[in-house]
């Protein structure tokens, strides 16, 4: 219903790429907790960087729905690679592209569309997760420079060798007794700025997650992104957008887990027949298929609203919540269908079972999504 010819072509292209290039190495990268520069480069080459950015700035010029399909197809094979692409496009490029001045866009966006450079978005802090207004990282203007102090945590793509910088949300003052937030562009080589990869993650082990430190980190005044005091607004808008890509990861993961369960249930024989012949197993598969279908419909509708410039924040939160929760349910049942083998690393479903867990936490926990949805419906 929502798909056009080019969307089918994107789906088949990314699917083929994911199956042939990512699938064979996903397990090993997960085992070694290794970010793959090789895969990142290849993903850049086929055009997964700057998917919705116009060619004028080096992007691919595709619609939002194309982007969602690409993330979904990556997540069907591997959550980590999907995370690299989703975070880079939605959180890295997004704010620069939608809020940058012409000069900032010309300067920052093209190198981020090739696969040679990544960009991160630093919002979360050790003491400010769901409550992002609780963040403390500050920036003060002095002699035409912003001087930033503080730290960020859990920042995707924040500390790879090819990370070119980060957009940081910082407190830039107080207005009417309330914190004033602004977003500031920080290049990787700025003095006073350091980043460190976080290790020992349970999930997305081949995706880079970082801690960022700002110690009198000094950048020129024109590194302000958007207007001073626009930080909260930019952050909220970025998250509405980012939620759709997390939803796409949930949908793709659920689809992949469902396919694994379906395949395995037809091959595994017990009591003289394939286990898919037992009604209990067949009904599990039916529920999985239905959930995936529902998730897809909800997500595509939210994308349709966004693409047609209609309000989509409520639907975006619903899609994020639903797709991440069915990812959990489907992966869980898929492990059940695999029996003991589902608990072994030899089977991809084991990785899927771990990877799904982030989806109910990142970019707004399930609780926060319910908060967002309930606020909308109660004020409607």
């Amino acid at each position: 219903m929502y798909e056009q010819e080019e969307h089918r072509l994107i789906r088949s292209t990314v699917r083929e790429f994911a199956e042939q290039e990512i699938k064979p190495v996903a397990k090993e990268l997960d085992d070694r907790e290794e970010f793959s520069y090789d895969l990142t480069k290849k993903m850049g080459e086929i055009g997964l960087f700057g998917i919705v950015v116009t060619p004028e700035y080096g992007g691919q010029g595709m619609d939002y729905f194309s982007y969602i399909i690409a993330v979904e197809e990556l997540a069907r094979i591997d959550g980590s690679q999907a995370a690299t692409i989703a975070a880079h496009n939605s959180l890295g490029i997004g704010p620069l592209y939608y809020h940058g001045t012409e000069e900032q866009k010309q300067r920052y966006i093209p190198p981020l569309c090739t696969g040679d450079g990544l960009w991160a978005f630093g919002l979360t802090e050790p003491e400010a997760g769901s409550d992002s207004r609780g963040s403390k990282t500050s920036a003060r203007l002095e002699n035409g420079n912003w001087i930033i102090n503080g730290s960020k945590i859990f920042i995707t793509n924040g500390a790879t060798d090819i990370t070119l910088g980060t957009t940081v949300q910082a407190v830039t003052g107080e207005v009417d007794g309330k914190k004033e937030f602004s977003t500031i562009i920080v290049n990787r080589d700025t003095p006073g700025y350091t980043s460190r990869a976080m290790k020992e993650k349970m999930m997305w082990r081949a995706s880079n997650t970082a801690e960022l430190y700002f110690d009198d980190c000094t950048v020129p005044e024109d590194h302000l992104l958007g207007d001073r005091g626009d930080g909260s607004h930019i952050m909220l808008e970025t998250l509405d957008d980012g939620r759709l890509s997390i939803a796409a990861m949930g949908l793709g993961l659920a689809q992949g887990a469902y396919e694994m369960a379906l395949e395995y249930s037809k091959q595994r024989r017990q009591f003289g027949k394939p286990i898919s012949k037992f009604q209990v197993i067949a009904f599990k598969l039916a529920d999985m298929a239905m959930k995936v279908e529902l998730g897809r419909n909800l997500l595509y509708k939210a994308c349709w609203l966004k693409q047609n410039k209609q309000p989509f924040a409520k639907e975006s939160a619903m899609a994020k919540l639903y797709c991440s929760e069915i990812a959990k349910e489907v992966a869980d049942e898929a492990v059940q269908v695999h029996g003991g083998y589902g608990l072994m690393k030899e089977y991809d479903i084991e990785r899927f079972y771990r990877d799904q867990r982030l989806l109910q936490i990142g970019e707004g926990t399930s609780e926060i999504q319910r908060l967002v949805i309930s606020r909308y419906i109660l004020s409607e």
Binding site: E5, E6, L9, I10, E16, I46, G47, M62, S66, A70
Partner: protein
């Protein structure tokens, strides 16, 4: 250089094909269609030739409107133009080759690539038929190919139990074998550009099939294996069954 690639629009290799209600065609419902895998090598060969020599690559496909999607895939990989020979009537290999040949004969092709076989009906005939109809040399099942500046061709072909090296000269028809190259993925930007590339429609002259399909059926379902016993004692029984039931020894 004027390069053509004849491509075929076939059911995805992972699709479980069903026989249609008439008992002699594929049931198209629920089938996803793809660019014939062997034709991907042909498109790649064409693109590499264009990149080395300059020129233009045209993707040609015979069939109903739905084949435009497959032409578009070739364009997304990097071909310049499409040529759609429109027909809702399925044709036998000879009829398809005839439509392709009459469309291509006045277009001054330097090379016409195709895949070694189309994985739907497995005719394996196109390169041979096109060569004959257009009076061009036909180099089939090429797994290695070199086209030199002077237009001479050197190709390696897989033959039963070995390899064969052949030489020929452009213009020619060349069919691609797996291993000829590593087909590229379309780039996302290529997919967008493909939307704006021209696809010319042509009508083929009428044709009556020379070969008629009477029936299509699925292969018989394999029956479950049989365990005749264990250890040396079972050998006698196994030999007996292989001799009397399976009749293989």
């Amino acid at each position: 250089m004027n390069i053509f690639v004849c491509v075929s629009h076939v059911p995805d290799t992972t699709t479980k094909v069903q026989v249609g209600e008439d008992g002699k065609s594929i049931d198209p419902s629920g089938v996803t269609w793809i660019l014939n895998p062997y034709d991907e090598y042909a498109v790649e060969a064409a693109l590499q030739l264009k990149e080395a020599r300059e020129g233009e690559v045209t993707v040609v496909c015979f069939g109903p409107d739905a084949v435009k999607e497959t032409i578009r895939k070739g364009l997304a990989m990097g071909a310049d133009k499409g040529l759609h020979i429109k027909s809702d009537q399925p044709r036998d290999s000879f009829g398809t080759a005839k439509a392709l040949a009459e469309t291509l004969k006045d277009r001054e092709a330097d090379v016409i690539f195709c895949g070694r076989q189309s994985i739907d009906y497995d005719g394996w005939q196109m390169a041979g038929l096109l060569g004959e109809m257009l009076d061009l040399p036909s180099v089939t099942v090429a797994s290695k190919l070199e086209i030199k500046e002077d237009g001479s061709i050197e190709a390696e072909r897989e033959i039963e139990g070995g390899m064969e090296t052949v030489v020929s000269k452009l213009p020619a028809v060349i069919s691609a074998q797996k291993g000829l190259n590593d087909p590229r993925y379309p780039k996302l930007q290529g997919i967008m550009q493909a939307k704006r590339k021209p696809i010319e429609d042509v009508e083929p002259s009428p044709y009556k099939n020379r070969v008629e399909v009477l029936e299509m059926s699925k292969p018989p379902v394999k029956s479950a294996g049989k365990i005749v016993g264990e250890g040396p004692d079972a050998v006698k029984e196994l030999v007996k069954l292989l001799h009397e039931e399976a009749k293989v020894i």
